[in-house]
Subunit: 365 residues, 4 copies
């Protein structure tokens, strides 16, 4: 109710602030007897970890996790699975100058307005550091989805005004993953990746930041997931993505461009069953979801991130008393969040699909 | 859990199928002693009602509602408020030819895949007729929000590739409302409205359909609404909008365009308090929401609708057995949903804000 | 959240007041393709119906239901199943004298305190008439449980200080049901039934009322239902029973008497598997539930009902202004609720088990 | 959904196993700016702590907690408040002999049946050690309730067949508390306390265990708390109590004895307002709750605990293969849980009232 939980049956609750002792997550509802691959979880966390390259924040967090509860001899037991990620490199002093000042386009002002108190150190709970807990939980969800062969792949498809070509039609997710992890910006198109990396580095040098987009593909999702009416599969994916820090837009399938099309162009014609395959569609403007329920085709969506609000430039603002003040850019921040956010988008997508997989079990007699 | 409820404290559950006896909604959690303005509720329903003009479906539904429970002497009592809207013009026979066929880009295939059974008459539960129940509930939410002076205004901002100019800066919502209701397409810009009406009418004559966009503005929303992390105000607005039939995209504030901007351009500089006003911002790329919490500025978002899937043309498809089949366009349908969807967007926005207004009451000691 | 819904996956929401147009229930989450036996549902409602014998209220309600949504060709479709029970014999005028008076041990005072408004006619929402909606929903749950062979049997085990002998050890539920339905008081022991019927009739003649107890038995419930910690199976059964009007106590297995026993007496010794049976226990002080989870033995519990508050005698009380007033017994009321409440206890038990059956599906990989 | 959370607005989720690294609790929804009195929290934990006297288990756990998140400069911030209690004295080896055996009247068999895996060490998640997390959370709830003057007092009112006299009429909770904390058994009547202490000590020496009852009193609870129909205040209190390990029964107000009374005896006559007081009742058979909503009188209820299942005697049972086996009493256990459970009953009561206090805020316009 206070907004720190996500999912109904595969349900997570995250906790912790940027500069507290630790952040973490409870996963309640993960099926029992799932083998916990700790190396895989750490590898997922490492993709989101700060300090991983020259185009990310230089804050050093090892983001090593430990399991506090819910596991026994390497497997889940059906009880709450708690993963804890201690904070190590906190430099809270970097934030003393922000104590009484509202940083532009940050959550300082709104937290103060809502709660009448705020932990100003590093943004406290509003810091994107919270998303590390989501990535850890998402890794568990991925391990669960692996059992059903469901694969999730996201990559950076644009930064600023530079777009990568569409890769939805490519078949081999393992190859895409290999390309993506071979470049700093996490784009599945090598040429664009090179361009984007240089662009972000230039932005960083100028003390500025820039927005970008992430495209995501979910493959082998069975038909039937998603609840009609309010909990449509794309509505829950949309909420999941919009809940990630800095996200300002979500579209699936044909998305905003689809609103410019005619029905005769946009309809996805069904193709007859064949020996090896069930019913499929010729095109996929529906993005794998019809009437809010997966149809077995690839699920595709895109997420828009605004530029990071912390810039290394002086800005006019106000203080807690509502009087004019100046703020100086300071601290260690990302020039562009999308390279690190790829892991978060995948994690949230995995959590949504895992939840709906469990929910769907209950509808059949 | 089965997806027919929305909201936490101001919570609605809708029920009913397109061709059953009635559709309806229970509102559970509406504060007591609210005066129920039945004329206002009917006026809201009339904006979504089919058959209202030449550019909407000619299905005739009076969409008259009655209150089954929860009211006493014209006021809410705090018990579940049930609104019932009988179905009148059902022509279920129009759908007999669809019984064993999956209409392209409809929910026929996915409902069958999920439930192993479906009420094929008029799309059953997947029909947009369900949204009449949302509009009725949204009208109650608006009556509640009126008590706090919160105003919600949506209009058609584009159809196909034709865009209306931005009207977010205009001050007088009553004037905008007057303009919008003076044209069939529900656009707040008279010149564009004229153009869009003609365009939709041409599309209709050609037996085709077209998509469009709706822009929405929430004014006088106090700072502090929205729960951080997962239930960010814009995440709940996004889910609400994405749960509306045919919606393929949602963006708020700077939206997708914001992902192309630099931080130095995008940051909304805070302006000092004045005698008459609290802290405001110079620009509003944040769309009235920072860190998931309202900041007191106008909340702005846009919603993209795909073209209606039912076209008056023959299409290739498959039948329940997965074999090739042909479907002929038949029935009474909208060439473009956005004129009628304006009422739905406003209703869902009202439900989100009402819910968060109640939720926010609980955080302060 | 406002307390009108029950269950997580097999979830009901009831609505309606005693003297409104109708009461009803939405069942959201009932699996699809369940055959709806309308005669069975009506028969269940008839067991709770007023006016069924000389020892119940003489209010005449046919309690005929109709299905508003969620069914197609006699089966559930997976969409919200709405059952409506119109109110027919309302005599609201009988309650005019109560408009400004708080009836002792009724909910008049507390509803007024909570909401600042109340529908005083027949107790409005606080009337036990609401439980008819639960019985209708419980009948659907029973139809669902029948698929798994789960049987539920309740009967009146005491009225005032007269107790029936324990029948938990009896094997044939159909025979018990036959005996119970052969007497007005719904007790499975014929001799006690005779005694109780006469006793209640005497109480009725004296213008007084009396409390009683109902015992319930759930047979063939598989091991594994119930969630540990907060949603223990007996905790959810207890909440379900305590939510029934007039219930003041709940105990399962050994219950209150168990608190007087020693561990060496109370422990249920496990018996080895045999060819035909899994692990069982020698005794069943655990009432079929250990650690909050069913163990496959009979689930047994008892529910205590206070005497009906409306008596045909004059009583001192206060009016809305808090001043002294006198209230005269009037209207048509039950001298003892337990004969009609047997159907409600079974319905709520069925709803709890159906919900946990669905919930349990999600825990296994 | 998996049963590890409790409450709607003041919502807790507990985690951890008896022999893991730690147990803990997240409180989500606690209002911001509440001063966290750490000494008070520790004092509450100390009342439940093992090893506190000769009549409790000798397991040594210091039960020291630390705050992981949600606090800043000694106050709550509105973000998830996480309290962690490390396990220190685990002797897991004591349980090796139980690895493949199902202890009678424990949760070993049912956890295995449900999950197909279990952490056998000390009962894992089914251990009453989990309730320490509830006591920590309940202490926060009490600090919150203090703001409204609401007081909660529980004590041991019987052990085996020995009952203490009723103390509900006594006015001074501080005095009752003083008496209760002056004896090992936590009974508010000194003479009975002496008797009970000796009785439990005798039981302990005989290697046996015994059940008991706890009575609870909530004073100064405002009228209006509790949601009608399913979330009646006593239904939520009942569920809270029944969710505590070993509880087999719950009754409020007149309870089971009330089911033997007549309406003319049982009705609580309302007394007119006076200068200093609002409407009160002459008697309080309603236990402070009418129609599921508090009426401003003392809330009273009783909770029955079965005897502890672990006895220091040999017992017949079965092993994981379902074959006959013998189990020997071993480990450190309580001869009677009620002296330590007083703190748990108060904690759960505080959590229910805190939740309903927040929920009640939302119903008034």
């Amino acid at each position: 109710m206070a907004g720190n939980s996500f999912g109904e049956l595969f349900r997570i609750t995250t906790f912790g602030e940027s500069h507290g002792e630790a952040i973490g997550v409870i996963i309640d509802g993960c099926p029992s007897n799932l083998i916990i691959d700790e190396q895989f979880i750490q590898a997922e966390l490492d993709k989101r970890r700060p300090g991983q390259s020259k185009i990310t924040t230089q804050r050093k967090e090892s983001d090593e996790f430990r399991i506090l509860s819910g596991a026994f001899e390497g497997k889940t037991t059906g009880t709450p699975l708690t993963l804890l990620i201690p904070n190590s490199d906190q430099r809270s002093k970097d934030y003393d100058h922000n104590k009484d000042i509202f940083r532009p386009s940050h959550a300082d002002f709104t937290y103060e307005a809502k709660y009448g108190i705020r932990d100003h150190r590093g943004g406290g709970r509003s810091s994107a550091r919270e998303t590390a807990a989501r990535v850890a939980a998402g890794a568990i969800a991925k391990l669960f989805l692996n059992q059903s062969g469901i694969e999730i792949f996201a990559h950076v498809s644009s930064v600023g005004t530079i777009d990568a070509p569409n890769i939805d039609h490519l078949q081999d997710i393992h190859e895409l993953l290999h390309i993506r992890e071979s470049n700093l910006v996490r784009c599945a198109d090598p040429a664009t990746a090179h361009q984007l990396t240089n662009y972000i580095d230039d932005i960083r040098k100028s003390g500025d930041t820039v927005g970008g987009k992430i495209s995501c593909l979910i493959r082998n999702c069975p038909a039937g997931l998603g609840e009609p009416v309010f909990d449509k599969l794309h509505a829950d994916l949309g909420k999941a993505m919009l809940s990630i820090n800095a996200v300002h837009g979500f579209e699936y399938g044909s998305g905003f461009a689809g609103s410019e099309m005619k029905g005769s162009e946009h309809n996805d014609i069904f193709l007859p069953k064949t020996k090896n395959k069930g019913v499929t569609t010729l095109t996929n403007y529906s993005g794998g979801i019809q009437g809010g329920i997966s149809n077995g085709m690839d699920i595709t969506f895109r997420v828009a991130f605004k530029p990071v609000a912390t810039i290394m430039q002086n800005q006019q603002t106000v203080n807690s008393a509502g009087k004019a003040a100046e703020i100086k850019g300071k601290g260690r921040h990302d020039p562009c969040v999308v390279p690190r956010a790829v892991a978060i988008v995948e994690a949230m997508a995995a959590l949504v699909i895992a939840d709906h997989l469990l929910r769907n079990k209950s509808v059949i007699l």
